[in-house]
Amino acid sequence: MKRFLTFKWILTLILIAITGYLYSRDGVITTSVVATALIFGLPLALAAMVGIMCERTGIVNIGIEGTLLFSSFIGFFVASTTNNGVFGIFSAILAGVVTGLFLAFMSISWKMDQIIAGTIINILATGLTSFLYKQGHTAPTTSPIDIPFFSNIPFFGQVLFMNGPLVYFGLVVIFALYVALYHTSWGLRSRAVGEHPGSADTAGVSVFRLRYLNVALAGAVGGLAGAYLSLELVGSWDRGFTAGKGFTALALMIFGRWNPMGALAAAMFFGLAQAITNQLMFADVAHIPEQFVNMLPYVLTIVVLAISAGKVRPPAAEGQQYEKEQA
């Protein structure tokens, strides 16, 4: 643990030093790269939160990809038919909750294998969305909001305070989840249910109810991520639109050791790698084929994991069904 801590801090310091140096060389490009890192990394971070909320209460969720796909589709569909972005965002969140409840239903009430339950959600979302999809629709998208005063700060102003509304909302959700998980009774109970449901039950926590609640809430966060993808970041929807982001989020969740802040940092790192490669491609610095540019974030993840590897420890009761003891 100590070894990883030092490694983490050294990496952070190096990143800050490099960013500072690059900023002194070319402020405009550095700022835009870091800003891009945030908007690329955020959906991954939110999707990783879905995984954290489920797994901390002991439910494996590999259906995040399906949640993202379904909610981004519903959000876009509703926004384009009603021509109202706010409706779109709310229906995306609702769609996320629906997938969450479906997962909870299968894995908690019916005690199905959780990996299968997640796979069903993924296939179902892929099939349903591509079946219902019709080309050529547009939807209103959110526009950036500059926060007065703060947006004038050099560097940080553009990175943090000149974003779309869902970026702010998403960041608030992530920090709130961190605080809630470690500093509220809900968080303590959730973690207890994920580690040792029997003890939590003895202490008077309803394991079923808490798991249902958390999986549904996680679905809402996934819906937010979906809405962000289709209505703010990209502004359109296409078949297979989420392109494996839900699976990448799982990796980031494990990379961040089931901790919201860790996953956020991992997601930002991933976003940064993508932003840098984008910039390289845009500036045409070297003739790197597009395919190699695209694979860079994945190679980086493996390399960083291989260097920093320590044994990760998932929540103990994960993936196990809980049977209340009968007297």
């Binding site: 494996v60 959780q114 349903l128 591509s130 799982l250 994960e318």
Partner: protein, 323 residues
Amino acid sequence: MLLQGAHPMDAYGSLFSHGFGSWAGFAKTLGKATPLMLSGLAVTIGLRSGLFNIGVQGQLVSGALAAGWAGYAIHGLPIYIHLPIALLFGIAFGALVGWIAGALKAYRGIHEVITTIMINSIVLALVDYLAGHNFQEPGQTLARTSAVLPSATIPKIFGLPSGFFFAVLLSWGVWWIFQRTTSGFRLDTVGRNKNAAWYAGISVKRSVLIAMGVGGAIAGLGGAIETLGVIGRFEPTFNTGLGFDGITIALLGRANPLGVIPGAILIGGIRGASASMQFDAGVAPEIVDLILALILFCVTAPFLSKWLRSTEVGAKITSGWSN
């Protein structure tokens, strides 16, 4: 389907008659089922050894490209030498891709779900690049290799793709290994309880390497058979989704190597006939994914599976990341 104004029975009838009704349709079904069966088998080996191998897609595609390359680039060999060499190329590259994920797990403790997902993306990009540049068919703008030479093409038996029979045989072989041999028992023990296996003196590291390597080899073989026996050249877009259908098939078969056979035939039939279904009944082929999800749901939902198999609900397949 009703939403699209088509008659559901027309659609199902078309699906059935094209998938299983005629000899040609049946041959097509078996051709589609072969790589699906092998990728399902690769996932199954992982599941039985306590690993969730999502990397079958990457392993399969790298095998397909390697076999395709060996199929067109090596000249002047008779079929009984050329074909095995091309198949071996597929097997070796599939195994290599699987083994990398296994090694990262065994030696660095990185979870296979992460590494296989990342390696999938890397391999797919790499293969796409190679098929579009170094290995591209001369004068071709599409990303695809030259056609496989006749000396490396898998012959058909009575119009049926012979790779299929080999895949069935292999599924049975894997079942036999798990059921009757010590090596199979070792993998199974690691899959059931890693700590108990370690305590009993079984090397968990070795099991992880074997399970990922052999799984990758089988997936690579699936890609090779697809390239050499069905498609006739390597083209990246032709192989998409096979590895993920493999996960569905393995879960349908409840992690039993013999269980992948009916699952693969069923899904192969549906996939193969989906285009005809669109033609005959005007139903979008995307409905296939919906049908697959419903099948998986029905087979695994407890109240139905209890009814289908009254004795036991089935062995536990996964228990989260920790296993």
